[in-house]
Amino acid sequence: MLRALLGRWRSSLSLLRPAHVDADRAKIAVAQLGHQYANKVVALQDVSLNVRSGEFVCLLGPSGCGKSTLLYALAGQVKPTGGTVAIDGKTITGPGPERLLMFQEAALFPWLTVRGNITFALGAKGVPRAERRERADAFIRRVQLTGFEDTLPHQLSGGMKMRASLARALAMDPTVLLMDEPFGSLDAQTRIHMQELLQSIWMRTGKTVVFVTHDVHEALMLGTRVVLMAPRPGRVVRDLEVHLPMPRKAEDAGLNEMVRHVRELLRQVEGPGLQEPAPRRPPERTASRPGLPAQGLPRPVR
């Protein structure tokens, strides 16, 4: 039995392989990206990441590891203080129609119905008036919101709002979909439904997705690639390809084996800083860390 377990453990390791993507073959090329906020916090340091077209990349890490900053830099909402982001070989300077950012909240326009939200966005894209309604209804069907076309956002549940938001994003037909913990505020059950929905849509459309999450299970459930990040300063520590067949099931044993493995990896990454006994920490390091008062922290005995 032990051998069987060990075998599973090994197989899960072999299903997680380091990813190597050349910059010239990448859809999204991030090179030596660095970002420092005005309050001197280094959110990103020397981050390089190449994403192929059609990949589903999950940025995974604890809060403060810069995963959202990286995503916002990809979206063009944050101007990084160093390095470049290029899409299809062209360096980006701001938001663009080929990239679409989805937030943790559904962020629907509250005065427009579900259909109205989509047709309004399509109007901004320049879709002729006659086509908008038909296209909106097609995407509403795709996210299984049929029957709620004329409902106002505040009458929908959290999961339904998110689905409407997803329909709006898909209707805009971006080549790159950037998602910032979109299911973070949903309950566990709804979350799994949304993950399965997103997966089936991704399999059908083949969009490039960059998905930020702090949930290991979610990352492995959805991603073809998982990028582990670590905080202070925000950096990439592992870049792994997930070789599990799609569609994946949340209860899948191999998936859960991997989850355990990646959790272990994450613990190693964060571990030294957190588990190191406080008295052995050199005092000058404590003082140099921003935001923490030097007094009140355990001091080494001299």
Partner: protein
């Protein structure tokens, strides 16, 4: 239903106390008539058409002035909120002028426009335009930044952004500002009408005073209250309530 019974009983109680005090004869009945006398005077004014004529005149003035205020106030508020020059240069002036009670414009208005409608219109506009502009600016600045961000990522720009996102997002606040502007305008109008012969509700009050006709004065006051409440309730509360429900801001107002 219970709410209305409470309301009605309070009104009846007040009327009863009024009648009682009038009957006690502490003050001369000429100076402190009871509700019945006042109601009779109101009825007389209604039946001989004086009230209707005065109301029509006042409301006509108010309507024109209010339309001007809205026409100037909302764009002014939008400009202050969106353009740095207006925010830095015009906003202090607008806030400063707002410290001046609107009736203080009347002497100037009389010198500029003479004893005409224009003078009163000027006072009413000055009384309400600034409040509307400031409320508009406030509500535009208070728009949820998330909506602005999502509009930018969806590529909503230019006029479509201003009228399709900013304006509807700020609309509940703007309507509240319009309501405020209306009550400012209503006050300024009556203050203006009181001060010179103008043929509106304010003048009916003045005439009542000059004839020592206290029932008429009180009757006009009652009429002014009723008109004010009606417009506030019927027009603004319905619009505001509907808007807030549609925007999902409140279950019921």
């Amino acid at each position: 239903m219970k709410r209305y019974i409470h309301k009605l009983s309070m009104v009846l109680l007040l009327l009863g106390v009024w009648e009682l005090v009038a009957r006690l004869g502490v003050w001369s009945p000429h100076l402190f008539p009871g509700p019945f006398t006042v109601a009779k005077s109101l009825g007389a004014m209604l039946s001989d058409g004086r009230m209707a004529e005065a109301t029509l005149r006042s409301m006509g003035r108010l309507f024109r002035a209010y339309l001007m205020s809205v026409g100037i106030g909302i764009p002014l508020g939008l400009l202050i909120a969106r353009i740095a020059f207006f925010r830095n240069a015009v906003k202090p002036i607008v806030s400063g002028l707002q410290a001046l009670p609107s009736i203080c414009w009347l002497p100037l208005a009389l010198l500029w426009f003479g004893l005409t409608d224009a003078a009163i219109l000027f006072v009413v506009v000055m009384g309400s335009v600034l409040g509307i502009a400031i409320a508009t600016e406030d509500s535009v600045n208070g728009v949820d930044p998330q909506l602005v961000r999502v509009a930018s990522t969806l590529g909503v720009k230019g006029l479509r952004f201003q009228f399709g996102v900013m304006l509807p997002a700020a609309l509940p606040g703007i309507v509240t500002g319009l309501k405020l502007g209306w009550s400012f305008a209503w006050r300024a109008l009556l203050a203006g009408e009181l001060l010179f012969v103008s043929g509106g509700l304010g003048q009916l009050l003045t005439v009542g005073r000059e004839l020592m006709d206290v029932p008429q004065v009180m009757a006009v006051m009652v009429a002014i209250i009723l008109i004010g409440i009606t417009v506030d309730r019927v027009l603004f509360q319905t619009v505001e309530g509907r808007l807030r429900r549609r925007w999902g801001l409140a279950g019921a107002v």
